[in-house]
């Protein structure tokens, strides 16, 4: 074993104390009929060798020189101090704070995280974290079903396709029906979810409407009107939001969202091929007893010292077992800490700069392509930092650009067959004018 502390003498002493001759004796309770027949795991490697193997694999990824790819995961600056904070072994090698007296670091940081999520979303209560934005959204939909005692949900087709897939998976078990609200994606359409379209599928069997702001195409949805359409029939509005956009866009609490979820990856978490990221969830205090996930609350000890504990645990699996609000146990605490450190590092002004610069560069990208006659925006609606652009011959040119180290966004026709020749281009604060010029030049060259 690579990390064994035991000498031969230690082994002997322990075996003697236990009163057995060999370690084999400790496995005598495994019936011979079911013992492992084989275990062909390759031989151990030294640190030097294992570094070689991992370098080999990491080296097989070809990182693009210039990238406009977003589609739910964004390349942002991760300030060095964020890495420093989550690299602290006292955070990284602790577990769920079951013993609050020796877990105040984790607990207080979660309380700060909950406070920041409430500030960003304009909601009253935020959970300690979920696996990712999609599972948080699925759990929010199930929570809305419990709150309204209804068993259908409505979701806009402009919600991230992978989020809709996860919703379908989670709903398939308990047999919750999903109805889709078609967004206006036809030629010359807004690319948004029309409140009328939502209203036409909403009725008093529907627990919630799930909408995304900005939506999958970057478009700014009429969230207030969508919320009204839901509320008229007693359904809830579940708003899936992008956290940096909340520096500029109205807080969901302001437009009547009942449950807010988000993928927290843009807040200081590396792309890392899709995870670990962190799901955010916030709601109203009145719904807290149906909320899934851990919650941290402030309290005191007998000497009047302030301290933090896991609280309202009567919602959770270890207390309520089959009656729990969710089965979640381990969540994504260290990623929530990264988000907390990130939001502290950038502050309100920095977050606005990130949002504004991302938005400006997305517009710069679209304008540059239009100016050069290389493409045109597919939808009419205002957008945040991601934009759908139709580029003739997009499939061929996307592949050709990749050869030159330029990743021209996400091919939308892979999710929406009608959106032929349409690329979803994302910008962040890391997108430079040179990147945009490189994209334009490379597209020119593949005309």
């Amino acid at each position: 074993m690579a990390y064994s502390p035991h000498t031969e003498a230690d082994h002997r002493r322990m075996l003697d104390a236990v009163g057995v001759v060999s370690i084999e004796d400790l496995f005598a309770d495994i019936p011979p009929a079911v013992r492992a027949d084989r275990f062909a795991v390759p031989p151990p490697l030294t640190e030097q060798e294992v570094r070689g193997e991992l370098s080999r694999l990491a080296g097989r990824n070809v990182l693009p020189r210039v990238s406009f790819l977003g589609a739910g995961a964004y390349r942002h600056l991760v300030p060095a101090v964020v890495g420093e904070v989550i690299g602290r072994a006292e955070f990284a090698t602790a577990y769920t704070p079951y013993q609050p007296e020796v877990s105040q670091g984790t607990l207080q940081s979660i309380y700060e995280f909950q406070s920041m999520v409430c500030e960003l979303t304009g909601m009253e209560v935020a959970s300690a974290s979920h696996y990712d934005g999609a599972t948080a959204t699925a759990e929010a939909a199930l929570m809305a079903c419990r709150l309204t005692r209804r068993d259908r949900i409505a979701v806009s087709s402009a919600v991230h396709p992978q989020v809709r897939e996860v919703l379908r998976t989670y709903c398939s078990g308990p047999g919750i029906e999903i109805v889709e609200v078609p967004a206006e994606l036809a030629e010359g359409g807004s690319g948004l979810t029309a409140p009328d379209a939502a209203a036409s599928v909403l009725d008093d069997d529907v627990a919630c409407l799930v909408a995304q702001q900005p939506n999958f195409f970057g478009g700014i949805e009429p969230m207030r009107e969508l919320g009204e359409a839901a509320h008229v029939v007693g359904a809830q509005l579940v708003a899936l939001v992008e956290p940096t956009s909340l520096a500029i866009l109205e807080a969901p609490g302001g437009y009547g969202a009942d449950i807010v979820t988000a993928e927290g990856q843009p807040l200081g978490i590396p792309l890392s091929f899709g995870g670990p990221y962190v799901g955010l969830m916030a709601a109203r205090m009145a719904s807290v007893r149906q909320m899934p996930g851990r919650l941290v609350g402030a309290t005191r000890d007998a000497q009047g010292r302030k301290g933090y504990v896991l609280t309202l645990q009567a919602r959770e699996q270890h207390i309520r077992r089959e009656k729990a609000a969710s089965n979640i146990c381990t969540n994504q605490a260290l990623c929530a800490l990264a988000a907390t450190a990130y939001l502290s590092a950038v502050g309100p002004d920095g977050l606005r700069e990130v949002a504004q610069l991302s938005m400006t560069q997305a517009r710069h990208t679209a304008a540059a392509l239009e100016e050069a006659g290389l493409g045109e925006r597919r939808f009419t609606a205002p957008y945040f930092a991601e934009v759908a652009v139709r580029v003739p011959g997009a499939a061929r040119r996307h592949a050709a650009l990749l050869e030159r180290g330029i990743l021209a966004g996400h091919p939308l026709w892979t999710d929406y067959p009608d959106l032929d020749d349409t690329l979803l281009l994302a910008a962040t604060e890391l997108t430079t004018d040179d990147d945009i010029a490189a994209l334009v030049d490379a597209l020119e060259a593949t005309r």
């Binding site: 690579a2 370690i23 005598a28 294992v50 990182l63 790819l69 207080q108 590396p270 610069l357």
Partner: protein, 543 residues
């Protein structure tokens, strides 16, 4: 189990709850470390960002403006702090934690083993850390190969036919397993008739909670006097209404289910699915392969068995392995070897070489029409896969077997060394953990397991898991793991003896413990009665 709820009820029942100063009493609390919001001053900054160029600003104005009604009126009150103050705040907070890297952490069922640092080095390699999950497969061959190889290793370790890496934690793996169970029965036309999931009374809370999440009814099966599942009770309950049995093996008592073959045949006889909670895999590496033994599905906890750091409560990863009959239902898309011979690719990778011409990809959408679909975005908690792969390759097959050998030896060592001081309800050879009971101390001295746990804190040691499993009165569930030296184990034994002695000589001191920690016992009942779940920014009325 619930330190929190117990603390509340125990404190109230004994009248000690009254000792807590009421937060509404008016006096200000002493603060160990102020909230980061309190270090905030308008205009302070840690990080700055560039300004957009003139050209960017100019051309951007031609694009449609955001509708006025969609804009935020007031900025979020995030902290405004300098980088140094930020760092000091979190560093000071970190110092309030106990952690594996600081001391012994025998938290049963959680496998708090050493988290090797080379794993962190690997996960931070730019080729991995900057790899975008929606990248075309051509740019992500390294990530996809690593996922495929990890799947191959987990298959070999567990004896299952296939593995999905998607689930983000153990409970998420359980959900995936139960969704596949449901899909399997539906495909056989028994989706509506099989409505029950059987769960032993020793099971972790996530098992019944998972069953409910997929719409199943939970039926609890009692354990026998040896700590195994009661086979007669199981047989009497199993019928054509049973969708699955969820069983933890070794059990949460740290005991290998020695009638496991009988259990599996009884479950399969009625056409139900046998689910194994693999939280305790650290005990049986190289000794028992659940897939080979006949289980249909199991979740791994990479954050337990395969040394990925627990992160203060995650992230982890909870891949599932499945037998042949559940393969069609696995979540998708799966990372696959699209071109190349699997034996050659494996052989080369084990020798640290790439295979020319091999190509990895994600399955085409719709290629397995019976798949339950995605259980999360992207392909999983990839950063954890890098660490687990590094760990498995570092240990190799022989090393992994030795992991279990030493984990089991350490637990048995503690079992015999502590048996004189604490009751041992199931006195037999254990696997990676051992469950004692504090009932002797409770009856003789009025000292609860909670008191014992708090006294352990004053020895600089993290307490075992307490009050779980539920079938052991005043449970103390101890999992030492294989990476703790004999000296550490002996220090723990001394501490436990000192506490057992003190339960007789000075029980009051145990009820007052801990006294060396940054805060003492906290008023958890009060926290639940008056929830304070976010900073109030000096407003009144914030919840």
């Amino acid at each position: 189990m619930s330190v929190a709820e117990r603390a509340g009820t125990v404190a109230d029942a004994s009248g000690r709850g009254a000792a807590f100063a009421s937060p509404s009493a008016g006096e200000a609390a002493t603060v160990v470390e102020p909230l980061i919001f309190e270090a905030s001053a308008p205009g302070r900054r840690a990080v700055r960002f560039p300004q957009p160029s003139e050209r960017a600003r100019r051309v951007a104005t031609g694009q449609p403006d955001l509708p006025a009604g969609s804009l935020r009126a007031t900025a979020p009150r995030l902290p405004e702090v300098s980088e140094l103050d930020l760092l000091r705040h979190f560093n000071r907070l970190s110092q309030l934690n106990h952690a594996i890297d600081l001391g012994f952490y025998p938290l049963g069922s959680c496998t708090m083993k050493y988290n090797p640092k080379v794993n962190e080095w690997a996960a931070a390699l730019p080729g991995f850390a900057a790899s975008h999950p929606v990248d075309p497969a051509a740019s992500s061959q390294g990530s996809l190969e690593l996922e495929w190889l990890l799947g191959e290793l987990l298959r070999e370790i567990s004896g299952f036919a296939a593995v999905s890496l998607q689930p983000a934690a153990g409970a998420h793996g359980e959900l995936t397993g139960m969704l596949m169970t449901r899909a399997y029965h539906r495909a056989n036309g028994q989706g509506e008739t099989r409505t029950r999931v059987l769960v032993p009374d020793s099971a972790h809370g996530t098992n019944p909670a998972t069953a409910s999440m997929v719409g199943y009814e939970t039926v609890t099966i009692r354990s026998n006097e040896r700590g195994g599942i009661d086979l007669d009770a199981l047989r009497a309950t199993l019928d054509e209404r049973t969708a699955a049995l969820m069983i933890t093996n070794p059990s949460t008592l740290g005991i290998f289910e020695d009638q496991i073959d009988a259990v599996l045949s009884a479950v399969h006889e009625v056409g139900a699915i046998a689910y194994m909670d693999g939280a305790n895999l650290n005990a049986i590496l190289g000794r028992f392969r659940p897939g080979e033994a006949g289980f249909d599905v199991m979740h791994f906890n990479l954050h337990k068995t395969f040394s990925t750091p627990h992160g203060g409560g995650g992230p982890g990863a909870g891949p599932v392995g499945v037998g042949e009959r559940l393969v069609p239902f696995l979540p998708g898309p799966q990372p696959i070897l699209a071109e190349g011979d699997p034996d050659t690719v494996r052989r080369n990778a084990w020798a640290g070489r790439s295979t020319p011409g091999a190509r990895f990809a994600l399955e085409e959408p719709g290629s397995r029409p019976e798949s339950i679909g995605r259980v999360r975005m992207h392909t999983g908690n990839f950063g954890m896969f890098v660490r687990a792969y590094t760990y498995i390759r570092s240990n190799g097959g022989a090393g992994l077997r030795a992991v279990s050998d030493d984990a089991v030896l350490a637990a048995n060592y503690l079992r015999v060394r502590l048996a004189d001081a604490y009751d041992l309800p199931y006195d037999r050879i254990c696997k990676h953990e051992v469950v004692f009971s504090g009932r002797r101390q409770k009856r003789a001295n009025g000292v609860t397991t909670l008191d014992i746990a708090k006294a352990i804190l004053d020895h600089g040691i993290h307490p075992p898991t307490i009050y779980f499993p539920l079938i052991v009165e005043e449970a103390l569930m101890i999992e030492p793991t294989e990476t703790e030296s004999l000296e550490t184990l002996d220090r723990f034994v001394e501490a436990m003896h000192e506490i057992a002695d003190r339960a007789g000589s000075d029980p009051g001191s145990l009820r007052r413990a801990p006294v060396t920690t940054p805060v003492g016992r906290l008023d958890e009942a009060g926290a639940a009665r008056r929830p304070d779940l976010r900073h109030a920014f000096g407003e009144t009325g914030a919840e």
